[in-house]
């Protein structure tokens, strides 16, 4: 996972969850972010798809259990597309 992908995911998450980017780490998850409920999870999915131009499969969405996992997923999908 590169720093720049993480930074971009973090900025999307900060928008969605309404918390400062500085408070978000790779470990941040539904357990640590109060706002991260199923509806915000959907918003996160939609925002990630739009931002990175990727299509998330149901299996991918299952894996998005932390911000670090989301960033790793984005990189995997982007390299698969290349």
């Amino acid at each position: 996972m590169t720093a720049s992908t993480f930074e971009q995911v973090r900025s999307v998450a900060s928008d969605i969850f309404g918390i400062p980017a500085a408070e978000i780490t790779t470990e941040s998850s539904p357990e640590t972010i109060e706002n991260w409920d199923s509806m915000q999870h959907l918003n996160l999915v939609l925002a990630i798809e739009e931002k990175f131009g990727v299509q998330l499969e149901p299996e991918d969405i299952e894996q998005m259990k932390s911000i670090g996992a989301v960033a790793a997923l984005v990189e995997k999908l982007q390299s698969a597309a290349r």
Partner: protein, 596 residues
């Protein structure tokens, strides 16, 4: 995301007053990602939307139970966004397994359900209700065979939709939203996202969530009253392709063929608006004569001057012109929508008049018509007989009140009028009207001398007396006999005994035409001077400066009035060139006056 919407609300509120509106959405699918899009769309229409979203698939309980959270929320409007798959599962899945009677019964059961829920809703609430129609499957279970019968999967869903329209029409404030057509418009394959449906119960692809929000806005805007009543349009590169002042009549593009067809498409969209009672107006930076020629005579134009309730064709800035149009049509500035191909003009209007609905025309003229047709500010949920006739009513009023303000100069207006005047000595046929005018005319009447028919008839028999009448026609119709002048020759001078004009036609220079004829005919008879009194009354102030304005010299003022003379040997008084004047000698039985 919520905080960003709050920022947007605050920013909007600084510029225009927001209408608050409570909307409840009853649903069988995830609508939450649509809500922020809907609220920001609403701000653009001046609406601060508060949204209550019902629980998944609890719409039946919500509508039937008078104590439900739906009714406690007290919404202004409710959307019933339910999909075929949930409300009619037997018609959606395993349809091929159903016997024809069972399928028909299933469809009827669905309709009865809606009837019952909507009836209960109306009992508990006076709010508006917007009911989604049911979408048809993009791939029916029996393939093309499905379309061979009205009782197929698609046929039965169509039948349900027809019934939904009937039910909606049976209640005040219940409206059908054709969800099936909305999906079709964007393409079922594009619209749907099966992954999101299966993972998050969101059936609509991310790229189309905004379209769903906009479709709801088409109901919310008219329900909230934030509609536009007048659409003000630009001309060059908006109603036609090209610039009339540079390209000329032959150069501008408008007609049935490409590229002019794009503009005709827009014309049809505008005509449809006027049939819904929305007034059209023109605001264009142009030379009036150029623009009017195209509006009146270009064979490709479907829109003509009569379709516009107001026109501002000049070089003044558009914000000022829009203010004047609102004033002229007696509507608030927020009732205006504005359409212009030029982004600069649009931004200027947006900045100066944030209340105005500004339509962002796409770059491609082929998309102009859709931009108008899809604008929620023009949606109406009902149509009165008055709405249908509004354009005609305004047109008639405009003609009556005159439309001088449209023009850059008085002369422009006079030319636009295309006045034709007909001047003749009084005849048997006009005697009654001439006498009547002397008796009735108060405002533009220099001496206010009242005469009866026999008196006028007697006058015409006296040598040296001349009684003229003038008729006037213009582009708005025939005004009939509107002016009278009576003169008699005394020695070297000709005295004006009576000079009057019906108040209908004051101020459009027909009086000058009449006076010029008096002067010319007197000069032809060898008179040296034209002489006339202005005798003031309580009502004839409009005629006070008449002689002075026409080059007469003041002679004397006494207790009755003032005397003015015009030297006919050096007189330059002429009929204005914008009036086509026809002088006839009026030789008919009983005419013994007239020119000698």
């Amino acid at each position: 995301m919520t905080s960003r919407l709050d920022d947007l609300r605050d920013k909007t509120r600084d510029k225009l007053a927001l209408t608050t509106f409570k909307l409840a959405i009853l649903r069988s699918f995830t609508v939450e990602p649509i809500v922020p899009l809907l609220r920001s769309e609403a701000f653009a229409h001046g609406i601060d939307l508060e949204v209550h979203v019902g629980d998944f698939n609890t719409y039946v309980q919500d509508m039937l139970d008078s104590q439900s959270s739906l009714y406690r929320f007290a919404p202004r409007a409710v959307v019933l966004a339910v999909r075929t798959e949930q409300v009619a599962p037997e018609l959606w899945r395993d349809f091929a397994d159903l016997a024809p009677e069972a399928a028909q019964q299933a469809a009827e059961r669905v309709v009865r359900g809606y009837e019952q829920w909507i009836g209960a809703f109306r009992k508990h609430s006076q709010s508006a209700l917007i009911v989604h129609s049911l979408e048809r499957p993009s791939s029916p279970s029996l393939g093309v065979l499905d379309d061979q019968s009205e009782a197929g999967q698609s046929g039965l869903i169509r039948q349900i939709n027809r019934e939904l329209r009937r039910i909606a029409a049976g209640f005040h404030g219940v409206y059908a939203l054709d969800y099936d057509a909305l999906v079709a418009r964007h393409g079922s394959e594009q619209w749907h996202d099966e992954r999101k449906w299966l993972t998050a119960r969101l059936p609509i692809a991310a790229g189309y969530l905004l379209q769903m929000a906009r479709e709801w806005m088409r109901f919310i805007v008219p329900l909230s009253g934030r509609t536009a009543k007048v659409l003000v349009v630009d001309l060059d590169n908006t109603l036609w392709g090209g610039v009339i002042g540079e390209d000329g009549m032959a150069g501008i593009k408008v007609g049935p063929e490409y590229p002019g067809a794009a503009y005709q498409g827009l014309h049809r969209a505008l005509l449809d608006l006027s049939r819904k009672g929305i007034l059209l107006a023109v605001c264009s930076k142009n030379n009036l004569a150029d623009a009017m020629e195209a509006l009146e005579k270009h064979p490709g134009m479907l829109l003509r001057p009569k379709h516009f309730a107001a026109m501002r064709i000049n070089w003044t800035d558009k914000a000022q012109n829009l203010r004047e149009i609102a004033q002229e049509l007696n509507v608030g500035i927020e009732a205006l929508a504005f359409m212009d191909d030029n982004p600069f003009e649009r931004e200027q209007v947006r900045a100066a008049l944030p209340e105005v609905t500004v339509i962002d025309l796409p770059k491609n003229p082929l998309e102009y018509a859709a931009a108008v047709r899809n604008c929620a500010a023009f949606e109406r949920l009902t149509l009165s007989a008055e709405d249908r006739q509004r354009t005609e009513m305004y047109a008639a009023q405009k003609e009556r009140s005159g439309n001088e303000q449209t023009f850059q100069s008085k002369e422009d207006f006079f030319r636009f009028l295309e006045q034709e005047a007909e001047l003749e000595p009084v005849t048997d046929l006009t005697l009654a009207r001439v006498a009547q005018l002397t008796q009735k005319t108060n405002q533009f009447n220099l001496t206010t001398r009242r005469y009866t028919e026999p008196q006028i008839a007697e006058m015409t028999k006296q040598p040296g007396w001349h009684v003229f009448s003038i008729r006037l026609r213009d582009r708005f119709g025939d005004h009939g006999l509107v002016g009278v002048a009576i003169a008699h020759d005394v020695g070297e001078q000709c005295e004006v005994d009576t000079f009057l004009l019906s108040c209908r036609v004051i101020g459009r220079t027909v009086e000058t035409a009449l006076l010029a004829h008096l002067a010319e005919s007197a000069a032809q008879r060898g008179r040296k001077r034209l002489e006339g009194w202005y005798l003031p009354t309580k009502k004839n102030a409009p005629a006070r400066d008449f002689y002075q304005q026409h080059g007469f010299e003041w002679q004397v003022t006494n207790c009755e009035g003032s005397l003015w003379t015009l030297d006919l040997t050096s007189c330059t008084l002429r009929c204005p060139d914008w009036i086509k004047l026809k002088v006839s000698d009026g030789v008919t039985e009983g005419n013994r006056g007239g020119k000698n």
